[in-house]
């Protein structure tokens, strides 16, 4: 095997469109001719649904629980255009330890040398949330993913989650951990949304890789159990995802971000909220 495997982790707050974005990136990369595996690291286990016609696949951890041991090939399922789909799985809400679940599932795959054997070009880890504990940091540690992208809207809670992720990346950066490729700005339809994300990227010394607008096409395709790339290949939205995938494929060098500390983040958010308020009030008075 001579080609270099590119390992990418995509993080973001729950519900922000992380799995949608990830699946569309996987689908676009695969249509570009790359061999791709998407590894869902979310106990909800629905990362790869739109690559599999809306169906859930047996997870690594459920299989481990049932059988006591797992052969990696038993939990890899082929999806759209030959994409390898894996779901780590995890406990039901409110019980157990989802972070440990990610550690267990990722270690199991690494031990069995699956990535090498499948001769992959890309592995994309789709990871839930705010890096709340050591387990969720697993994919950004040494030797696993090399590049991290975060999906964020201009919503402050989503930006907070991204900032937390940057703290995690910064922590592991001097011990060989993954570095930050940039922000994938999602649901960007207002001008000020773009400005917020741009400003956050600048303050934290990173870049915005792509602006993805909110689109009803995405929802329509998802309702059919498909990615936009599969369900509406000629749409504007599909072009944006393809463009994003091309940038990710070409992306070589990531950097250590400079996360804001708690006070800075609060002040930054407060400054923006005042501006938004002014914009909105102007709209209201203009409309009256």
């Amino acid at each position: 095997m001579s080609k270099k495997l590119k390992q990418i982790a995509i993080y973001g707050k729950g519900g922000i469109g992380k799995s949608t974005t990830t699946s569309n990136i996987s689908a676009a990369l695969s249509k570009m001719g790359y061999k791709v595996m998407q590894f869902g690291c979310d106990p909800k286990s629905d990362s790869t649904n739109t690559l599999r016609g809306g169906e859930y696949i047996p997870t690594v951890l459920d299989t481990l629980r049932e059988k006591g041991s797992v052969k990696a090939n038993d939990v890899i399922f082929e999806g759209f255009n030959g994409i390898y789909c894996v779901e780590a799985g995890g406990p039901a809400p409110g019980v157990g330890c989802a972070g440990r679940g990610i550690i267990t599932a990722v270690q199991l795959f690494r031990q069995q040398k699956v990535f090498e054997d499948l001769d992959l070009d890309f592995i994309i880890y789709d990871v839930l949330g705010d890096v709340v504990c050591g387990g969720f940091a697993m994919p950004i540690r040494e030797g696993i993913a090399e590049h991290v992208f975060t999906v964020s809207s201009a919503d402050f809670m989503s930006v907070y989650a991204a900032n937390n992720l940057f703290k995690g990346i910064q922590k592991y950066s001097n011990t060989g951990g993954a570095l930050l490729g940039g922000i994938i700005a999602n649901s960007i339809n207002q001008e000020y949304s773009k400005n917020i994300i741009d400003d956050f990227a600048e303050k934290t010394k990173t870049q915005v890789v792509e602006y993805v607008p909110r689109s009803v096409t995405v929802t329509q395709c998802e309702l059919q159990g498909k990615t936009t790339i599969e369900g509406a290949p000629d749409s504007e939205q599909a072009k944006i995802y393809t463009h994003l995938a091309e940038k990710i494929a070409a992306h070589e060098i990531s950097h250590t971000p400079s996360p804001l500390d708690t006070t800075e983040l609060r002040e930054w958010a407060s400054g923006w909220s005042k501006q938004i308020l002014e914009v909105e009030s102007r709209k209201v008075s203009a409309g009256a």
Partner: protein
């Protein structure tokens, strides 16, 4: 099967080898169900490992971390850090006594083992224990200046996801010595023998050196703390012994890659290290029956002779030893013939001990092993020690797998009513004693190895049989802590595997 040294975490035994910890039936059936020779690869998905998908009822058990303590903690010029709450250090007492005894037995300066705990508390569980680990590494370095630092993880650090690997890497560079993470969280494997593999995995990744010249007369002997029986034996063949992992120095461990061969006294202990040394460093593993009884020792020596090109010396030695030992064994046979023995030890070790008992004319109708590996890492049928036992020394009617469970032991012994038991893990011996059965605690696990081993073991058994009257008296005056209904039950009736195990 291929061992993967590319990741810091060892693959568990059940994942690699399909290890089971509850099974009941004859040895010949276990051989059949293990499908060793048919598959030749580990964890074959055979009936055996598929069936035992949940652990049986367990009163208490050992932990992988303890095996790290008694291996990494016994490297003479290294220090083991237990990255754990202090409770994980409870077994330091036991392993320190074993370490001191072993040093004495080998004629080395007696000293305490060096183990340091990070003593994690509630705050560390919430905020992460990495800072404490770093402080401990620095303190350990300043205090002891060891040649290597091992870091044993624990359940708690595994759950919170402390990044021990990155810290180890950082301090390996800062201190210029190997700082080696050993992932031995107790919850990760149903059997503690994964802890052997975790230690060996770390040593293979970070201590064993690459690219040095071979030492054609050096043999790695994978051992624990037993008396020095291998050095004189191998000296007769013109070979030097490199005892690993226990009681070795870091430099002994580093030179493992230069040896002409690797041998062990028990496949359970040596499977991972010996196989990986062959795979990664080209050091041949002696794939032969274990060195017990005439047949096993002959075959083991011949394979060692073949691998190290000492065939003639081996034949001379075999002939000499047969001549010397056969009359002694004959004499012991005359005295021990018809006596009934029972073996309760680690898995592959029991295969060897039963062979020795049968060489001595002792009847063995039952044995308890603490786990069973359907295959070993090499996947080579020549190492199928259970099949070798059955083929060469006959079947064992009641060959039970149970992870040292007290509650089952009474019923197991009652099935065969032995005159004595052989045991290495003393937790079960008092129960046997209270049933009137004397136990030979094999504190020296090399006692039964090789030709002289048959004589040694025979004499030990004669000694313990002399205690029979004492044990009978004891049995008459003690009561067991179990209800009559339980004592009359099948010992596997609480095990989920009972129905399957009962199949023909």
């Amino acid at each position: 099967m291929v061992i993967n040294l590319g990741t810091p975490v060892v693959e568990s035994r059940e994942q690699r080898l399909g290890t089971v910890i509850a099974w009941d039936g004859s040895a010949s059936r276990l051989v059949k169900e293990s499908c060793y020779s048919e598959n030749g690869t580990a964890c074959c998905g055979c009936r055996l490992c598929e069936r035992e998908n949940r652990g049986p009822f367990t009163q208490g058990a050992s932990c992988s971390e303890m095996m790290v303590e008694c291996q990494a903690g016994h490297v003479r010029d290294a220090v083991l850090i237990q990255h754990s709450p202090i409770g994980c250090g409870a077994s330091q007492v036991t392993y320190n006594s074993k370490f001191r005894n072993a040093l004495k037995m080998r004629g080395l300066p007696v000293k305490n083992m060096r183990v340091v705990s990070t003593n994690l508390d509630e705050n560390d569980m919430v905020f992460g224990g990495i800072d404490k680990l770093e402080n401990t590494i620095v303190e350990t370095w300043e205090r002891y200046q060891p040649k290597a630092i091992f870091i044993g993880t624990s359940c708690s650090t595994g759950i919170i996801g402390d990044d021990v690997d990155s810290v180890s890497e950082e301090y390996s560079q800062k201190l210029g010595i190997p700082v080696i993470p050993l992932h031995c969280e107790g919850f990760k494997s149903k059997h503690w023998s994964t802890g052997f593999d975790a230690t060996q995995h770390g040593i293979l990744r970070q201590i064993v050196r690459h690219g040095h010249e071979k030492q054609e007369d050096l043999v790695n002997v994978i051992n624990l703390w037993g008396s020095d029986v291998f050095r004189p034996m191998l000296a007769e063949l013109g070979l030097r012994v490199n005892y690993v992992v226990d009681l070795a120095t870091v430099s002994d461990l580093a030179q493992m890659s230069e040896a002409a061969a690797t041998v062990g006294f028990c496949n359970t202990l040596s499977s991972y290290l010996a196989t990986a040394l062959e795979q990664e460093f080209g050091v041949p593993q002696v794939k032969a029956p274990q060195p017990y009884g005439f047949a096993g020792t002959d075959a083991w020596l011949r394979e060692l002779g073949r691998v190290t090109h000492r065939e003639t010396k081996v034949e001379t030695y075999i002939e000499k030893e047969h001549r010397r030992v056969k009359p002694l064994v004959e004499e012991l046979r005359a005295r021990l013939s018809g006596v009934k023995g029972y073996v309760a030890t680690g898995s592959a070790y029991s295969h060897g001990l039963i062979a020795v008992l049968r060489e001595l004319g002792i009847r063995v109708d039952g044995s308890l092993v603490f786990h069973h590996d359907p295959v070993y890492d090499s996947g080579d049928p020549k190492q199928d020690s259970l099949a070798y036992l059955v083929e060469n020394y006959g079947d064992v009617a009641h060959f039970s797998v149970s992870n040292r469970q007290q509650y089952q032991f009474y019923g197991l012994l009652k099935r065969v009513n032995p005159d004595f038991i052989l045991i290495r893990h003393n937790g079960l011996a008092p129960l046997a004693a209270r049933m009137g059965i004397p136990a030979a605690p094999l504190g020296d696990e090399h006692l039964a190895v090789g030709y002289q081993g048959m004589v040694n073991l025979g004499e030990s058994i004669r000694d313990i049989l002399a205690h029979k009257k004492f044990h009978r008296d004891l049995a008459e005056h003690v009561t067991l802590p179990y209800k009559k209904s339980w004592l009359e039950s099948d010992p596997y009736s609480l095990s989920i595997q009972t129905s399957a195990a009962g199949e023909a």
